[in-house]
Amino acid sequence: MALALENVSKHFGSLVAIRNLSLSFDVGSIYSIIGPNGAGKSTVVNMIAGSYSVTSGAIRLGATALNRLPKHRIAQLGVSRTYQNLRLFDGMTVLENLEVCFFPQSWLTFLTGAKRLSKAERLEICHACLAEFHLSDVADVLAGDLPYGRQKILELARAFVTQAPIVLLDEPAAGLNHTETKDMAAMIAGLKREDRAIILVEHDMEMVMSISDRIDVLNYGELLCSGTPDLVRTNERVQEAYLGTTEELDDIRKLAQSRRAQGGLRANAGIVRH
């Protein structure tokens, strides 16, 4: 299954957030969308998930046009996501946060057309997922009571528990410290599967460079460059776009240098995240 954006534009009033963007995401890979602040990264995610309507163009999942469908239908078709700011159900337990994802597969299947899962099956899947994400010990803890890092992981688990073929991750490393970010990167890399496309919007260049199969660079709502991490790292237009705007350029340069110096990817210690 493939997700494709075809000539997608998004206008907010007179502001053009995305201009004629065409991208295609196949299952089996990890994709990253990067770009300076305001480049339209989150807009892309929100359009795919159905939070934003598309001004022109089309978004297709396989043969199905997503951009005319309500948000919950898009999710049912297999697009799941995380949010830039944590949005867990704080007053519910960790297990319940996952369980509720299977509501469309409960007795309401006559409305959703989904395959029905019994309560036992549902719980089995959720417990397996908790084990996979190392959350079994806190299954009955309220999500709001977890430390921040584990809340981030729970949100990740919630995006993956239904085995959606398209998973959108909106800044999974935001607010995490260096070690946590590395763990998060390893965890996401480990979630790569033949029947799943992971699309990442992330500022942490180390994470992006280390786990992506393809990086799409956006600038002012347009695709600047698209390719493997090595290609993007050395692209001059990318460096120009970042020049003097954010620390990300430094990250890219440092990584490029260290890679040249050592012939490999090295931990880029000492970068303070906000």
């Binding site: 998930a49 939070s51 309500p70 948000k71 919950h72 239908r73 999710a75 049912q76 799941s80 996501r81 949010y83 949005r87 159900f89 704080d90 007053g91 519910m92 319940e96 369980e99 509720v100 994802c101 299977f102 509501f103 469309p104 409960s106 309401l108 409305l111 959703t112 309560k119 549902r122 919630r158 239904t162």
Partner: protein, 331 residues
């Protein structure tokens, strides 16, 4: 098995026995007290029903009494000389619940996109619209004079005439409603409602149709309100629009807020407090609303979550009883 376990089990039995004895004693009280208990039970049913919408789904509905009115008038129209229709009570009970559910969905549709204050205002208006419509539909409802001389109800051949009869009926219904709502709360539907209360957008992003979810809450809650209304009609054998003013809606919401939002035990406590209080303070009847105000403010200042802690819910009690009975070593 140690002595302490036996003592605890005996204690548990004693508490259960006490509850049963108290409930069994009610019919032997003077009629006035039985009526008060009946009133408490009716408000428990209403508040537990409204709690589905307010407490679980997080939608503030200030027009709940409209569904109660629909049920009461269903009985008044279908079991009186008004149109000379005399259907059996049990049939009207289901008709009233169904009519309530339909009214709930009719209210639900236009307000789906509203939240918070806006939703409260529209539902408040809906409650008033129903009351004013009843007040003016002279040919159908006799307008402000109301409909009197409703049929004496009976259930499976047993007469339902005295407050004691209604006590048993209401007790069974209240337990059924509490049990049913508790089951729903624990089911995945209840979890989806709680999620809806926390973050509607995320719920939609999980593939859940929030429209269906809200309409279900409105319909179920309104069905309970409608059934309560049928019993009210059969009990009073007289209905008039006066019984369904905004103040009544407010009282049901107050019961939930004062008892503990989203907690069945809290709602029961709230109903007891708010029904008994005006009876105890009968001498100050004209200050009834003032008293409600003072109680509300006091509770909100001292116990913002309601009188009963969210932890002390039906699930907690059932778990306690179960562990004490099955594996007392864990307690």
């Amino acid at each position: 098995m140690g002595n302490s376990v036996i003592v605890r089990r005996l204690g548990l039995l004693a508490v259960l026995a006490l509850c049963v004895v108290l409930l069994a004693l009610v019919p032997h009280l003077p009629s006035y007290y039985v009526r008060v208990v009946d009133s408490i039970l009716i408000y428990i049913i209403l508040a537990v029903g409204l709690n589905l919408v307010v407490g679980y789904a997080g939608l503030l509905d200030l027009g709940f009494i409209a569904f109660y009115a629909v049920g009461a008038y269903a009985y008044a129209l279908l079991a009186s000389g008004q149109f000379d229709i005399h259907l059996p009570f049990i049939v009207i009970l289901f008709i009233g619940a169904a009519a309530g559910a339909i009214a709930g969905v009719l209210l639900g549709f236009p307000v789906l996109k509203l939240r918070g204050d806006y939703l409260a205002i529209v539902t408040l208006s809906f409650g008033e619209i129903i009351r004013i419509a009843i007040n003016n539909a002279d040919d159908l409802t006799n307008g402000p004079q109301g409909i009197a001389g409703l049929d004496r109800a009976s259930l499976f051949g047993l007469p339902l005439t005295t407050p004691v009869h209604f006590y048993w009926l209401l007790l069974v219904l209240a337990i059924t409603v509490c049990g049913g709502v508790y089951y729903m709360e624990r089911s995945i539907l209840g979890k989806a409602w709680r999620a809806l209360r926390e973050d509607q957008d995320v719920v939609r992003g999980l593939g859940i149709n929030t429209t269906t979810l809200k309409l279900l809450a409105f319909a179920l809650s309104a069905a309970i309100g409608g059934a309560g209304g049928v019993i009210f009609g059969a009990f009073q054998r007289f209905v008039s629009p006066e019984s369904f003013t905004f103040q009544e809606s407010l009282l049901v919401v107050l019961i939930i807020i004062i008892g503990g939002v989203g907690n069945i035990v809290g709602v029961i406590a709230g109903a007891v407090v708010l029904v008994v209080l005006p009876e105890v303070l009968h001498f100050a009847a004209q200050y009834r609303l003032l008293i409600y105000g003072v109680v509300l403010v006091t509770v909100i200042v001292l116990r913002p979550g309601g009188l009963v802690s969210p932890r002390f819910n039906l699930g907690f009690i059932i778990r306690k009883v179960r562990t004490l009975w099955l594996s007392p070593s864990k307690t």
